[in-house]
Symmetry: C2
Subunit: 457 residues, 2 copies
């Protein structure tokens, strides 16, 4: 594929592409809103039609107990790799509606951006892959690789039906690499590949003493207070350098190569901007690491919720019968969530005082994910981005988990590339969601170029 | 008053006394139940009638925005002390009703006890003072002291109208000593005087960071977590010996004389019984003190409630915007609640990290109370108990506060004697409330003897 031809083609179709995207953005496919059930189906059907019209074959809706999954493929490149493209057509709710400058389901171009719910998360990015397919086909009859598509309508409500579908349709979805465009680039004109996600180990720590709340006048000072003991236990989970004190917690953490840390260090970062985005008082974390390193390459432990005793208005003088903390640990590649949960429980058994009953309840967990930077598919994506954006892409990690990444990796045994074209400040879950148009069109070019690059690896 | 005559008289009236008490116990004066408003008034009127019939004068209902207060007096002993008797005619709710062996408002004698809601808390004990008055009058025309009575109908719902009434009726209630029979003896056949109460300083400690909950995938490990910081701060409020670490916290605590500690030590106590009553796993508290000492002569600090972040079912991966603990300190005589709250706030300012915002909000407080053991009125009560029970009374303290004690002390400047005839296991707030009849009749004798003893001091 000649890049200048491709680029000219995409630029010449700007208005048509925006109009077509608008027809999907106008559909109110809010998965969290039960009254929008009809809109969900209409959106799945509209996208199916669009897939057929660009030449994708075997397009099919798979019904679930929730919203349908949309599948399609184009498999005519014998002996060449197969790429599975994932996206989602459901969107976040729109409240508070009054804060939208233009209505969320009336796509509007203002300045360099297209405003609409779903523009960046994820209809716009899903649409990039349809137009990449169409553009490639129009410019060069034969596709150099095989393509499969799976689009879901429940990403914003936990992807509950996607995981079992993937596991029960391994053959249908079998691929050499999975490409997901549902994340953000590090910044404007900063082509980005995300190659690692943190995992998660979630638990509840409960401290109990008497079966009922005790009057603190009758017993205060003479029995252990579960809320105080819980606070003590939590305090003992970190040392003064911000490190987690659970024995063997860091044993499986891989040393991150100097060149990867250098790559992170070259990313633009300012405390001021970090504090603006977070709203926090100050950066804080494990000594010896930058904010991005704390988020991406270091495991952490946070209390997500804590409760016990009297929590209403005013004052009640009781010793709580019990107090509970929800605690999660973000894990980095090579750590095992099951092992970490066991280490946590063992440490608590070691330090919990005998004056109370202490229990650790394991909740959900997910493994960290890593696609090696030097994987051929990553290199292919990198080269495509470099051609389109005119600069080497930035390699970043992500501090959170994306459950479907793990499911694809585990069920299909295929590496996942997170090739996001959004931006961190595009309000993906807030009013005035928008999509930077430059990245939208460059995304189409990048996705089309990727076919060639992958075919050659 | 000849004691054997008095004793014979009371014993001869057993059945009549129980029947009369029954007529009050049958009234469903549950102050927490708005539908029982009529019963509250009926109970106040029935008690007024009973007061008049025994010879108490100037009996009057004082209306409040809640339930009426009942006043009465008998002031004919010029130059002699005046005693104000306090009691309450409202009772606790009765649920769960199914757990009562006999209906709560059908007084029933079983074995040595009278079963009914209000039998020990506090109608039975209030009634003791009416029958003491009646018995004394019947045996000896003239009363050697002056008596005033104030009975409220809102003790179980916070005595909201009592305090302003006392403050606005100082002259009416003016007395040399206040006697309250609304507490328990330490055990069966253990005549008891309670001479000290702990005070209270209550506050809310809040730690905040970002204005909204943050996604722990996006920020976990790179900003201070308010719930973790709160836990750290709470953990630093005690040392490993169970002592409060706030600087100067113990400065004003009076050394308790060896003889008072010896008095506490001679009280029957077993860990087994303490654990049965509390339901706790083990005794725990400040090193170097017994359970009773921890409760009575040592100040303590307890978390009464704690909350922050996600507290629903399941898992949510957020860094809480804020976390709050309700914390109260029980204070011992000579400590000042205001000073202690200031010391707490100063310590938090000293140890709170600069990575969060920390605030201390002062809530309610109350001063500790102490009536010296060698006060003439205490000695008079002690002698009365010794005559009736045949043994020296036990002197105990109470770990909690009784707000009306402080109000009487402050507003009237009179010492308060807690001369309780209940027992700790008489279910005062639970199903099957009962009153040990031996103590009921001996209480009447004690209260009547007290007139002579107080007149002579």
């Amino acid at each position: 594929m000649d890049y200048s031809k491709l680029s000219l083609h995409v630029e010449s179709r700007r208005d048509a592409f925006l109009e077509e995207l608008g027809s999907i953005l106008r559909i109110q496919s809010i998965s969290a809103d039960p009254s929008k059930k009809g809109e969900m189906v209409r959106c799945a059907e509209t996208i199916s039609e669009m897939m057929r019209s660009v030449g994708i074959e075997n397009v099919k809706l798979f019904e679930t107990d929730g919203n349908p999954l949309v599948y399609g493929d184009h498999i005519h490149a014998a002996g060449k790799p197969t790429v599975l493209i994932y996206g989602h057509y459901d969107v976040q709710p729109v409240d508070p509606l009054s804060e939208w400058e233009t209505p969320p389901f009336e796509p509007t171009v203002r300045g360099d951006d297209l405003y609409a719910r779903g523009s960046t998360d994820d209809k716009g990015q899903l649409f990039i892959h349809l137009k990449a397919f169409e553009s490639y086909k129009q410019l060069s009859e034969d596709l150099p690789i095989n393509l499969k598509y799976i689009f879901e309508g429940e990403e914003e409500i936990g992807s509950i039906h996607l995981e079992p579908f993937i596991r029960s349709h391994r053959d249908l979805l079998k691929a050499d690499v999975v490409v997901i465009s549902d994340t953000a680039m590090y910044g404007r004109d900063m082509p980005t590949i995300c190659y690692a996600l943190r995992g998660m180990a979630y638990l509840e720590l409960t401290v109990e003493n008497a079966p009922i709340d005790l009057h603190s006048g009758s017993f205060g000072g003479a029995v252990a207070n579960p809320a105080n003991v819980l606070a003590d236990l939590i305090a003992r989970l970190h040392d003064e350098r911000g490190r987690v004190t659970i024995p063997h917690f860091y044993d499986d953490v891989l040393e991150v190569p100097a060149e990867e840390r250098a790559e992170i260090a070259r990313l633009p970062y300012s405390d001021e901007e970090f504090l603006r985005q977070s709203g926090a008082v100050a950066p804080y974390g494990e000594s010896g690491y930058s904010s991005n390193e704390r988020l991406w390459i270091r495991p952490t432990l946070d209390v997500n919720g804590i409760y016990g005793g009297f929590t209403g208005e005013g004052a009640k003088t009781i010793i709580p019968a019990r107090a509970t903390a929800k605690i999660s640990m973000r894990l980095v590649p090579n750590q095992s969530s099951e092992k970490i949960l066991d280490l946590f429980a063992a440490y608590i058994r070691q330090i919990a005082p005998p004056t109370v009953k202490t229990t650790v309840k394991k909740m959900h967990s997910g493994e960290p994910a890593l696609t090696p930077i030097d994987h051929p598919a990553v290199r292919a994506a990198s080269e495509s981005l470099e051609t389109v954006f005119g600069k080497k892409p930035f390699f970043i990690r992500e501090g959170g988990s994306i459950p479907e990444v793990l499911t694809f990796q585990e069920a299909l045994g295929a590496p996942v590339i997170l090739l996001g074209f959004g931006l961190p400040d595009e309000n993906s879950h807030a009013p005035n969601e928008h999509l930077y148009l430059r990245h939208f069109f460059d995304g189409i070019k990048t996705a089309a170029l990727l076919y060639d690059k992958l075919a050659r690896k």
